[in-house]
């Protein structure tokens, strides 16, 4: 009767427990979380191990399935050097996995993520943009984990494409920081405006700036704001966000493309859409118009779920079930990102490829 016990509990102990439903029998939960095994990496991507807490006493009989097993991974905040990534990826090579035993199976309660962007094997410039921002703290203030993750796929000649995607990622990051992140870390209640409306405002501001500064450029936008265990998505265009849980992967955004619309109306099969001469015609993008309609949605990110944000350079060449395979295979999100880019390049790399991958703690 864990719940009843808590009804009379000292609330300060209460706060230290994970807010999600306990996935391990309550008896095995320590009263307070152990210090993190893997602490937040510095900007150099270093991994700091807390060897004092290395234990092997918690075993998990489903350790072969990373989505089922508690995952301990490093936070790698810095994308790999593009040059080294490209040589690495084109051969399809990835680094050797660090054996699980080294990390143990301890819970740690912050999300980890990887990010990679690659020009591909055909194009001469990379018009995609990726942006990540993540903060995690542990203090009496109980500031929830906060993350902003953006993929934008720019289009337009004369470098307008990369200008457009870069500008949009930057403006949205600045807006979200100002309207949501700053109030949270300042301890203010964030404004009464719904987060989806604040995100829409940010996207509209980015669209307005884009129309002024890069009038010939356009871009897709798939962004995910994470506060605690909740994902707030804002989406325009045909970059995608997938949510992977256990053995399923679900595309949670809807492509604003002509062929997707034809599929929805039963006029095309997904296979036909792939080869359709107009498969990359969008009906909605940033920079298209003075106003832009933004899809927003809110999803709970369950413990150990994984969220993938990517440009069409990935999903056009790598099938959904293959995405899931890679996401399940790698315990390190950065390595999974590198692997996905390598796969797209192995298959021709016809477009720029950008991947952001979040692993929720278990």
């Amino acid at each position: 009767m864990n719940i009843i016990r808590r009804l009379f509990n000292n609330p300060t102990n209460e706060e230290l427990k994970p807010t999600a439903e306990p996935l391990i029998a309550p008896e095995t939960l320590p009263n307070a979380m152990p210090p993190p095994l893997v602490s937040l990496a510095t900007s150099t991507g270093e991994i700091a191990l807390n060897t004092d807490t290395l234990t092997t006493d918690i075993t998990n009989d489903r350790a072969d399935d990373p989505l089922d097993a508690p995952v301990a991974t490093a936070i790698v905040t810095k994308p790999l050097d593009p040059d080294s990534v490209s040589s690495l990826n084109l051969e399809g090579a990835t680094r050797e996995l660090v054996p699980d035993q080294l990390y143990g199976h301890l819970l740690h309660n912050h999300l980890t993520f990887g990010v990679a962007s690659h020009v591909g094997a055909v194009r001469s410039n990379n018009q995609d943009a990726a942006f990540t921002l993540f903060s995690a703290g542990r203090s009496a203030d109980e500031i929830p984990d906060f993350g902003l993750f953006i993929v934008a796929d720019g289009m337009g000649g004369h470098h307008d494409g990369e200008k457009a995607s870069a500008l949009v990622a930057r403006v949205i990051a600045a807006q979200v920081t100002k309207s949501i992140f700053m109030p949270i870390i300042q301890g203010d209640n964030i404004s009464q405006n719904p987060i989806s409306e604040l995100l829409i405002n940010a996207v509209e501001k980015a669209n307005a700036d884009l129309n002024v500064k890069v009038p010939e450029g356009g871009t897709t936008l798939s962004s995910c704001l994470v506060i605690g265990g909740m994902a707030y998505v804002a989406h325009v265009g045909d970059s995608r966000i997938y949510l992977a849980q256990r053995d399923t992967i679900e595309q949670i955004t809807r492509d604003h493309s002509l062929v997707q619309r034809l599929i929805e109306l039963d006029q095309l099969t997904p296979e036909e859409a792939r080869d359709h001469p107009q498969h990359n015609v969008l009906y909605r993008a940033l920079g298209q118009n003075e106003s832009v309609e933004v899809d927003t949605l809110t999803r709970r990110l369950p413990p150990r779920s994984r969220l993938l944000i990517c440009s069409d350079g990935l999903w056009n060449l790598v099938e959904d079930h293959e995405l899931l395979d890679v996401i399940r295979q790698f315990n390190n999100p950065q390595e999974a990102c590198n692997k996905l880019i390598a796969m797209a390049n192995m298959r021709g790399g016809v477009d720029n490829i950008t991947v952001v991958l979040l692993y929720m703690p278990g």
Partner: protein, 662 residues
């Protein structure tokens, strides 16, 4: 005399080919003196030119220049061939709405067509320059367009499909007559698009994207063109094939229903349900011409416009009579099962404002007559009643473990009664009226009181565990998760309290909260309505607001969910179903009076009562009415499902038991 330039010799360089190569005063082919540019696009340029063979008069022509920049010689040759073939077709056509073609030649890297110059404006320009296109004019143009399309489609041996009907390809000449320009020739030059592009053609029929091009594709595009003219919403900026999401009547109240019906039929998604040919469409339009308001008579029949599975806003039988007269409720009544008869009724002595609960053989209902009544659930016979000292406005709940019926009364007391005989098990006194329905969870009872407190009592004996002071009457029913108790108060504040009675988060709406929160336990999202007219979606753990949705009246009704939908009523009279993740409306259902009662979902149906006296059963997926049942008074209570019966209390003092039909 103006200076005259001859064209330079062979233009070899590729980069020049992309520029506008003809300038004013250039003379092409020793005959056509360029006056200026009329238009252009990626594929070429159209110039206005003077035919110098006519010295005495000023004969103007249009010079259409095609860039043939394909690097591959074979491809280039085939492009020119296609162009030539199309030009040949044009040369054989003779119709007042089709511009005459005078000449066709290849020069250097370009191909040229010399054709009739049309003095006028295209429809796109007219759309920009005017506020509203007069309906009678629009009908005339539509008839003329049908006529020219009909002529094209009747060509032998093969029909000519225009393929590119859109406002910018329709000119209105100086006489006000329709002229079709740009015979889709440029289209054959479009090769596989490599880069991502923004914007669709917007006017093309869905089957055109599969390569199925027939005269009916032109019918669709004509419909799309007329839709654009009527609604002034550019389809190129909207999702493809979404015309039915922008009803013409909404954007343009002056559009007669008959015209709307013609356009919608032309825009039918399935080509088989469209007009088979332009002659039919023309006939329907001509019928509108003389007495557009009255004598509309067409062969739309039962194929109501329905472009992608969503129902249309047009009632087919309503079209013939113009803006009158057939109330839609007439049709609803026909489809509604009027034969629903209650299995039993039970009359109390005052209004029933709350919901019943059933357990084993009994149903329990509180009434404003101060009594808690227990009746047999299958017959409605009285078993016992228990009198309190105040009206009962909260609903009883069943504690099966302790075999008690739990409820609060306006006599400030919370009661636990033995369900079998109505004897008091325990009571608990608050300092003001209790109108909040209790929640039983984790062996505890949680409820709010007008004294401003949220109480947690042990279910076994009614001993108080804690109380939480909100400082404002709490009339909503708390929701209890594994972590938190969430409730709303009269001040508009929504609060989440931990199981140990400490405040976790708060969210302030602008008016009182009487709607009870509902938490989707999988997603951890709390839905709650407020008298400030908004439905809110809050993160149950943090209170952060993810979206809100505005209705046109206070929301007293408590939300529930069906699959991915949040369902609730509003005092604006509508029952709403929103997408839970995005807060977008999926459907809504209009009743005649405000809805304050909460809906319930059972299997694939939504049941709810309205102050219009009706209990409704709707299809949860679509919001379509399945049946309704009329009580003798306003319904403010939530229905309760007991086996194969639906129990509903009404302000007419009665509790009804209806057989559960869905």
């Amino acid at each position: 005399m103006p200076e005259t330039n001859l064209l330079p010799d062979k233009v070899g360089a590729k980069d020049v080919a992309l520029d506008t190569s003809l300038k004013s005063n250039d003379v092409l082919h020793n005959r056509y003196k360029i006056m200026g540019v009329l238009g252009g696009g990626g594929m070429g340029t159209v110039y206005q030119a003077r035919d110098l063979n006519f010295i005495e008069v000023r004969k103007l022509v249009a010079v259409k220049e095609m860039h043939t920049i394909a690097p591959d010689a074979t491809l280039r040759a085939s492009m020119i061939k296609t162009f030539q073939r199309e030009a040949n077709i044009l040369a054989t056509l003779s119709h007042p709405a089709i511009p005459k073609i005078f000449d066709f030649f290849e020069l250097y890297d370009r191909v040229y067509i010399i054709m009739e110059y049309i003095n006028g404006s295209d429809l796109e320009l007219i759309l920009q320059k005017t506020k509203e296109v007069p309906i009678d004019k629009l009908i005339e143009w539509a008839i003329e367009l049908c006529d020219v399309l009909e002529y094209l489609h009747d060509q032998k041996p093969q029909p000519v499909v225009f393929r590119d009907m859109k406002p910018s390809n329709v000119m209105i000449d100086s006489l006000g007559k329709v002229r079709l320009i740009d015979f889709g020739i440029a289209k054959s030059f479009v090769s596989g698009v490599k880069n991502t592009m923004i914007g669709t053609e917007g006017y093309s029929a869905p089957e055109q994207y599969k390569g199925d091009i027939s005269p009916q594709s032109d019918v669709y595009s004509l419909g799309a063109t007329l839709h654009h003219l009527l609604t002034r919403k550019d389809p190129r900026l909207e999702p493809p094939f979404s015309f039915n999401e922008r009803p013409i009547g909404d954007a343009n109240p002056s559009a007669p229903p008959g015209l709307i019906a013609v356009v919608n039929k032309a825009l039918t998604f399935n080509p088989n349900e469209r007009y088979t040919n332009c002659a039919q469409m023309k006939a329907d339009l001509q019928a509108l011409r003389y007495r557009p308001q009255l004598s509309f008579n067409m062969n739309v029949g039962a194929s109501a416009p329905n472009t992608n599975g969503n129902t249309s806003s047009i009632n087919p039988t309503n079209m013939g009579v113009g803006p009158s007269l057939v109330p839609t409720s007439l049709f609803e009544d026909v489809s509604a099962t009027s034969s629903i008869q209650p299995s039993w009724k039970f009359k109390t002595e005052d209004e029933i404002r709350c919901s019943p609960v059933a357990y084993k053989d009994f149903a329990f209902i509180g009434s404003y007559d101060t009594n808690m009544w227990a009746v047999k659930v299958d017959t409605g016979e009285l078993v016992w009643k228990f009198a309190t000292h105040g009206g009962i406005a909260s609903s009883p709940i069943m504690d099966e473990t302790n075999r008690s019926v739990l409820f609060g009364s306006e006599d400030n007391t919370f009661y636990a009664l033995d369900y079998r005989n109505g004897r008091v098990t325990w009571t608990f006194q608050t300092k003001d009226r209790i109108r909040s329905t209790a929640r039983l969870a984790h062996d505890h009872v949680f409820f709010g009181s007008d004294d401003g407190k949220l109480y947690a009592l042990g279910a076994l004996n009614g001993r108080q565990i804690w109380s939480f002071e909100l400082g404002t009457p709490i009339r909503s029913r708390p929701f209890v998760t594994n972590e938190l108790i969430i409730a709303g108060g009269e001040s508009g504040e929504i609060v989440a309290v931990t199981l140990s009675g400490n405040r976790k988060w708060g969210y302030r709406t602008k008016r009182s909260v009487m709607s009870s929160p509902f938490v989707d336990m999988n997603e951890g999202i709390c839905f709650i309505g407020s008298s400030d007219n908004f439905m809110y979606a809050l993160d149950a753990n943090t209170g952060y607001n993810s979206w809100r949705y505005r209705t046109n009246g206070p929301i007293i009704s408590s939300p529930t969910t069906y699959k991915n939908l949040v369902v609730f009523g509003s005092a604006d009279g509508n029952l709403y179903a929103l997408n839970a993740q995005s807060g977008r409306e999926k459907w809504k259902f209009k009743t005649d009076k405000p809805i304050v009662a909460s809906p319930i979902v059972h299997r694939d149906a939504v049941y709810f009562g309205s102050t219009d006296h009706m209990l409704y059963c709707l299809d949860a997926e679509t919001g379509k009415e399945r049946w309704k049942f009329k009580t003798g008074g306003a319904i403010t209570a939530t229905p309760y499902i007991a086996g194969d019966l639906l129990l509903i209390g009404s302000m007419d003092h009665k509790l009804y038991a209806l057989p559960l039909v869905s």
